[in-house]
Subunit: 531 residues, 2 copies
C-alpha cells in the first residue's frame, strides 16, 4: 500500500476500503510536520457494516469456549511483542512520547500484560460472579452483553488504545466483539495493532467481526453509533465535552456507556509532611506532574496546602523545579491549544501564575511547565471554574487559610479519579487527616497516602474510576482485572432451568476447577454438593 | 390527628407539616369511594429540607457501625409485625388486595424477611466485595453512596413500598439515608411504615434524617430531586413514561438511577409441552396472569406459541378459564384506564380479542379477564406497538407459523425482566429449545423453565432486572440480597493507605470473622496473612 493511498478500515473480518466522507492525516507533534498516510473518515455505511458483523459475531461468541477467547488474547500479546520496535517507533512519531523508557519499557509491557491477565480472567471465569442457590433452584452469573464500542484516548496509544488497551481486553475477555474507534492522533499505531489483532483472531478461530476498526467518524455518526440498539455498551476515554455528548446519546437509548473524563486529582499536603520532607514531596510532585508532559488522566492538577511558611518554601521549591525541568512535547496542536486556554481560564478566574503560563520556546508543541496558585477563599468563590482541567504540564496550588477552609475546598470538588494525602510519618498530621479525609473520600475513586496518583497498577483491587464527572458511574473501574470485565456483561439468571441447559459457569460441576462461585452463601472453587 | 387535617411529612428526624402546594386523597378501588385523609403535595421546600437532612445523615452514617444499621432493620421488622393487622387492613382499603392470603400471608412476611436479610447483609459485609492485593498495597470495597431517593410502585404496597420494600432495605443496609416518595395510591399504608421506621431509627440510634418521607411532588420537583447533586442515586419502580422522565433528569446530572419499568415477560410454550400437559400449563398460566388482577411486574403478558391443533386447543382452554375466573379489583382508576387503553392499542394494532376487552360489570375498578391473539407475521409488522404493556389481567398470545418466525418474534422483543420456556419432559422439544433460547436469553434478565414468572424469590441468585427498557442498566438486580445493595454504593479504592486508616472491611483482620473478601485472588473469610 503506498503512502498516498487512503488506508483501509477493518470491517467484518477483513481490511476493506472505507465508505469515506473524507480523509485526515496525523501530525508529528515533536516537529509539527504532517505524517503522510491519509486515513479515512468513515461515513455511516461503515458503522452499519461494523454493527451487522458485530451483531453476528456476538451471537457466535456466546457459544465460543472461553479458552478460544483466552488463546486469542495470548496470541495477540505475542504478535504485539513481535512488532514492538515498529509499534513504538510509530507511536513515538505520532505522540512525541520517547520510545524509551515510556513506550517500549513501560506502556507496551503494560499492554501485553493486560491482555494476558484478561486471557487468564476469561479462562478462569471468576469475573462472572456465578451465584448458585441450590435451595431455590436459582442460579445467576454475568454473560456477554453484545458489541462494545471502544473510543480510545490520545494519551495512551498502546495501553488504552481502542483496539489494544484495557477496555478492549476487558470487552473481549467478557466475550464481546469490539468496534474500535481509533484516536485520530495516532491512527498508524492503531492500524498496526488492528493488523495483529485480526491475524490473531483468525489464528485462534474467533468469529469474523470480533475485532473491527474505524478511524474517524463525524460527531453525529459517533452519537448514532453508541445509541444503536445493536450496541451492548460503549467505553470512552477522552475529553469531557465529547464524552458528555456521547453519554447523552447513549443515555437516551438506554445503552450503558462507561466514561473516563477529566479529573484534577487533588493532592493534599499536610503541614507535618512538609516540615518533615518538603524536598522529597516537591520532587515527587514535580516528577508526577511533568512526566509525559503531564498528559495523564491521573495527573495531579490541584494541590491543596495550608497557609504558612513551610508551604511558601514548598511552593518556592516546586517553582524552581518546574523552571529547571524541560517542557515536554504535547500530544498535538489540539492539546497545546487546550492547555493554553485552560491556563488562561484559571488565570482569568483569579489564579496567579507562579511560573510558566505561556508556550515554551522549543521545537514542537510545548508549553512551559506551569504552576498557578490561589487562596482558599478565592477558590471557593468560583470552585467550578477553578476546577477546569489543564490537561498537560500544569497544576494549581490552592492555599487554604485553615483546616476548616480546606474542608470547604474539598467539599467543593467535583468527582475525581484520585485523591492523595501526604502526612508526616509520626502521626502528627493524623488529627488533620481525620478531619479532612471524610470530605475527600466520597469525591474520589482512589484514595492514596504519601504517593502521587500517576501510577495506575493493573491490580484486581484497583479503581480507575470515580464519581461523576470523572466517570459516568461511581461503581465501576476501567483498570483492574477481573472487575473491569463486569462493565461489559449482563446479569443473567436461570430459574428452574434444567441442568443440561445451564451455561458451564452455573453447572453443578465447576467447569475448570478454578472458577470461584458463590454457592449457598459461601465462595468456593468446588462443585455443587448434592444434598 | 383528625381525618380532615392534612397529614404531616417525615423530614429531618420528625413529623412536620408539609410546605404543601396542595393535597390529595387516596381512593378505595373496590368501592370507588375516596378515603378521607388528605395528604400533602410537597413543594420544593420539603425536598430541600429532606436533602439537607439526608446529606448530614449520610455523613454520619459513614462512621456508623454496621451493627447499628442491622439493629435498626431488625427492630423495624419487629415493629412492622406488631402492626400487621392495621397495615394489612389499610393496604387492603387502599389497593383492593385481599388481606388474606395476599397481604398478611405473602407480602408482609416477605417485607419483614427482606429487612432481616438486609440486616444480615449489613452486619456480614460480604456485599462490599472487599478486594485486597497485598503485593501492590491496594485495597478496595464498596462504600455507601449518599442519599438515595426511592420511588415505590403501586402494586406492592408493602414489599416494594418506598419506605419498607426491597430498595429501601438495600439502600439502608448499604449505609445510606433514604428519601422515600410514597406511591400516591396508598399513602396511609406508607405513613404507618414511616411511623415505625422513624421509631425504630430513634431506638437504634441512627442519625436523624436517615429515613424521610414525602407523599407527592410535582413532576418538575421530582425531576429536580433526582438530579440534585446531593443525591447519591435513585431507585424507581413504576410506569415507563414517568420513569424515563426521571431517568433523563438523573442522566443529565450524571447521577445513577435504577429503574424497574414495564415488561411483557414472554412465555414460550413449545408443542411437546402442550401435547404432554396443556391443561396443567393452562392452569398455571391462568393463575399467574390473573393473580392480583395481573398487577405484577413479571405478569406473563405475551405468550409465544407455534401454530397447530394443540395450540388451538390450549387457547380454547385458556379462554374458558379466563371466562370462568372472576375479574379482580384493579389498583386504581388510573390502572383501569391504562389497561383499557393498552388493550385498545393492541387491538388497533391488529390483535384479535379472544375474550374480555371491556370493563367488567362488578363493583369497583375491574376489567374483564382479557386474552388477545395475533399471528407471528402480523406481530412482526408492528412489534413495538404490539409490546404495549397491558398492566393488569390481560395477555397477548402470539401464534407463529414456525420456529423460524418464532425466533424472529423473539428477536423483535424489547428488554424484559423475565422469559419462560415450557418444554416436554422427555426431551422432544430440546432441539426447538436450543434453536429459540439463544434469541430469548439476551433479551431477559431471568430465564425460567416450566414455570411462570410471577414468583420472584428473594434469593442471592435472583435477578429482578433486565435489559432496557425493562430497567435502565442490564447489570443490576432490584431483588436479591446482597447483590441489590451494590446499586447504592461506590467503588472505593485505598492505595498505600496506612493500615490504621483503612475501613474495617479492608483491615488485615477480618472485621467479624464472616465477611467474604477476595484476598490475593482467593475468596476467604480469614484475616490477611502477613508474608
Amino acid at each position: 500500500m503506498t503512502s498516498t493511498q487512503t488506508q483501509r478500515v477493518l470491517l467484518a473480518g477483513g481490511w476493506q476500503p472505507a465508505q469515506a466522507s473524507g480523509t485526515f492525516q496525523a501530525e508529528n507533534p515533536a516537529t509539527k510536520t504532517p505524517l503522510d498516510e491519509p486515513y479515512p473518515i468513515s461515513s455511516w455505511a461503515d458503522c452499519e457494516t461494523a454493527l451487522r458483523a458485530a451483531e453476528q459475531a456476538a451471537r457466535q461468541l456466546r457459544s465460543t469456549p472461553p479458552d478460544t477467547i483466552a488463546a486469542f488474547l495470548r496470541r495477540y500479546a505475542e504478535r504485539i511483542e513481535a512488532r514492538t520496535a515498529e509499534l513504538c517507533e510509530t507511536a513515538h512519531r505520532e505522540t512525541g512520547y520517547p520510545v524509551k523508557p515510556r513506550l517500549a519499557d513501560v506502556e507496551l509491557p503494560r499492554t501485553t500484560a493486560q491482555l494476558r491477565q484478561a486471557a487468564d480472567a476469561a479462562r478462569d471465569g471468576s469475573w462472572r460472579l456465578a451465584t448458585i442457590d441450590t435451595r431455590s433452584g436459582i442460579r445467576s452469573c454475568y454473560l456477554p452483553l453484545g458489541p462494545i464500542c471502544v473510543f480510545g484516548p490520545n494519551n495512551f496509544p498502546l495501553a488504552f488504545g481502542s483496539i489494544s488497551g484495557g477496555d478492549f481486553a476487558a470487552a473481549i475477555a467478557a466475550g464481546n466483539p469490539v468496534i474500535a474507534k481509533a484516536n485520530t492522533s495516532h491512527p498508524a499505531t492503531t492500524r498496526i495493532f488492528a493488523e495483529e489483532a485480526q491475524q490473531a483472531a483468525d489464528e485462534s478461530g474467533l468469529p469474523s467481526g470480533t475485532v473491527q476498526l474505524i478511524y474517524r467518524l463525524s460527531h453525529a455518526d459517533g452519537e448514532r453509533l453508541v445509541a444503536d440498539p445493536r450496541v451492548g455498551a460503549t467505553a470512552y476515554t477522552g475529553s469531557r465535552t465529547a464524552g458528555l455528548k456521547l453519554k447523552a446519546a447513549a443515555d437516551a437509548a438506554g445503552t450503558p456507556i462507561y466514561l473516563e473524563l477529566s479529573s484534577v486529582n487533588p493532592v493534599v499536603v499536610l503541614p507535618g509532611a512538609l516540615a518533615e520532607r518538603a524536598d522529597k514531596i516537591a520532587d515527587e510532585f514535580t516528577t508526577s506532574c511533568l512526566m509525559g508532559a503531564g498528559q495523564f488522566c491521573t495527573n495531579p492538577g490541584l494541590v491543596l496546602l495550608l497557609a504558612g511558611d513551610t508551604t511558601e518554601r514548598f511552593i518556592d521549591g516546586v517553582n524552581r523545579r518546574f523552571g529547571e525541568a524541560p517542557a515536554g512535547v504535547l500530544l498535538s496542536k489540539g492539546v497545546a491549544g487546550s492547555l493554553a486556554r485552560s491556563v488562561g481560564e484559571l488565570a482569568a478566574a483569579g489564579a496567579q501564575v507562579v511560573t510558566g503560563g505561556r508556550p515554551a520556546e522549543a521545537t514542537g508543541y510545548r508549553y512551559a511547565n506551569t504552576l498557578l496558585r490561589i487562596g482558599g477563599r478565592e477558590f471557593l468563590a468560583q470552585p467550578h471554574r477553578l476546577q477546569t482541567e489543564a490537561f498537560g504540564n500544569a497544576s494549581l496550588l490552592v492555599v487554604a487559610d485553615d483546616a476548616r477552609q480546606a474542608a470547604d475546598v474539598l467539599d467543593a470538588l467535583e468527582g475525581n479519579l484520585t485523591g492523595c494525602v501526604y502526612s508526616d510519618t509520626r502521626g502528627g498530621d493524623d488529627p488533620l487527616y481525620e478531619q479532612l479525609v471524610p470530605h475527600l473520600r466520597p469525591r474520589v475513586g482512589r484514595l492514596l497516602n504519601d504517593k502521587m496518583p500517576t501510577g495506575v497498577a493493573v491490580s484486581p483491587a484497583m479503581n480507575h474510576g470515580g464519581p461523576y464527572p470523572a466517570t459516568g458511574h461511581p461503581g465501576f473501574t476501567a483498570v483492574g482485572i477481573p472487575a473491569s470485565l463486569v462493565r461489559f456483561a449482563m446479569l443473567a439468571c436461570y430459574d428452574n432451568v434444567r441442568p443440561h441447559r445451564l451455561p458451564p459457569a452455573l453447572a453443578d460441576k465447576n467447569p475448570n476447577g478454578r472458577m470461584w462461585r458463590l454457592i449457598d452463601g459461601a465462595w468456593t472453587q468446588a462443585d455443587v454438593v448434592k444434598s
